[in-house]
Symmetry: C2
Subunit: 249 residues, 2 copies
């Protein structure tokens, strides 16, 4: 399984905080292999721990290398994350495209991120097969290192995972009410409104009714909500329990 | 223009660092309206500045509200970012889907993120029209607040922006060599290899040639690269300048 997950390679990172935050972001979306090439402040780095929020203990494996080249040595396909054009003839894609390309490889793969000060060196981009870039605001293009990692990790998670839906079934629109239930509710509601003298002047009744129905329809109510609302209408109209009024109808 | 950009609402955030990092992430992808509802440590917060990397000066507008309700008061469509099912009948989508839904609104819109400790309260989710969720690793589901913001901001940038490509034209695969150029290069290469005695045993020549050609073809070389390689073959075969050898052919 690990052979099919891309390694995340941090090329000469500076701040332990960013390494920790990158590890957390990776594990949030199921990535577990973190390679740190020539970290400025060495490794382990105590500044990484609080930002990792337990990611190292929970599954992110870290390997430290002396150089970026060494960190890539066993990989067969590499993507460079960079916001700047490099004048190099390499295919360029976005985060989702990079995921597709990575998943298509039979070899071990990696995604390389540059350091906080300069991003990736051209020499390191040249080691890669493809460039991944994000649609950044040109006036404010420099992403935090761990933010760059989470954008990729999320794209990986989308391709690998649940398509952005909860696995549970208790959220989301389910059990949408039928038109029959809705019309029954409308007629009940309108009957009580009519009885209460709501529709005035009388010639406006069709318009007012239609507007009300449209407002409810847009809500895509469930059957349960229809029942709840009918109970509310009934309660308003005739009261419940001791407040119940006697009517002939 | 600002009416069409969603506001980012941080509901009762705790750490200034996360507010600053969220602001940076927003501006990275062109979002500029940050609403802070009841920040635990007040506002302004000096801890936000270093993580913002200048985003407040460069365009992110901050408004502070006493409550989440007040922060949403003027908005017509709201998305709640949450990793947990809530048992509420609301439509659920992923980051890209949330962008689509937000863009379809005529009213002012917002995306609400919960705080570091608990995420969004159910009462705040109930204020929203829809739920946005990310395909998180269930064993490690809790995202850093600013990481959650950047995933949405990136999705917004993808829909609004350049589709993940550089605006410049000097990167990416351009000027791909024609088959004619490639075949000319192959024949040149193979001629020199043949002459150099490379193909041995001779009956393996077709297979070796095909394998070589396939390897080059996969590289999607440009015309310039074809010319460069032909120069290299020529140099290897007959030398250049003073190293040039005389041959009859």
């Amino acid at each position: 399984m690990s052979a099919s997950l891309p390694a995340i390679i941090l090329a000469e990172p500076q701040l332990g905080e960013n390494i920790g935050a990158a590890a957390r972001a990776m594990l949030n979306f199921g990535l577990t292999e973190l390679r740190i090439a020539a970290p400025r402040d060495g490794w382990p780095n105590p500044a990484a721990e609080p930002m990792a929020a337990g990611a190292f203990e929970a599954g992110v494996q870290v390997t430290v290398f002396d150089s970026v080249e060494a960190a890539c040595a066993d990989l067969g396909y590499l993507v460079a994350a960079t916001a700047r054009p490099r004048g190099m003839e390499k295919p360029v894609t976005n985060a989702g495209g990079a995921v597709d390309w990575l998943k298509a490889q039979a070899s071990r793969t990696g995604v390389m991120f540059g350091n906080e000060a300069q991003g990736l060196h051209n020499d390191h981009v040249a080691l890669c097969d493809a460039i991944m870039t994000y649609p950044v605001n040109k006036a404010f293009a420099s992403l935090n290192l761990s933010q760059a990692v989470v954008v990729f990790a999320h794209a990986w998670g989308e391709a690998a995972g649940q398509g952005g839906r909860f696995e549970g079934t208790d959220a989301g629109v389910g059990d949408v009410a039928s038109r029959e239930e809705l019309v029954g509710m409308f007629e009940h509601f309108e009957y009580e409104l009519e009885r209460a003298g709501y529709f005035y002047p009388p010639d406006k009744t069709p318009l007012m009714t239609r507007n009300l129905r449209n407002a409810f329809i847009r809500g895509q109510w469930t059957s349960q909500e229809v029942r709840t609302f009918r109970g509310a209408v009934k309660a308003l109209a005739i009261g419940r329990g001791k407040a119940r009024i006697k009517r002939e109808d």
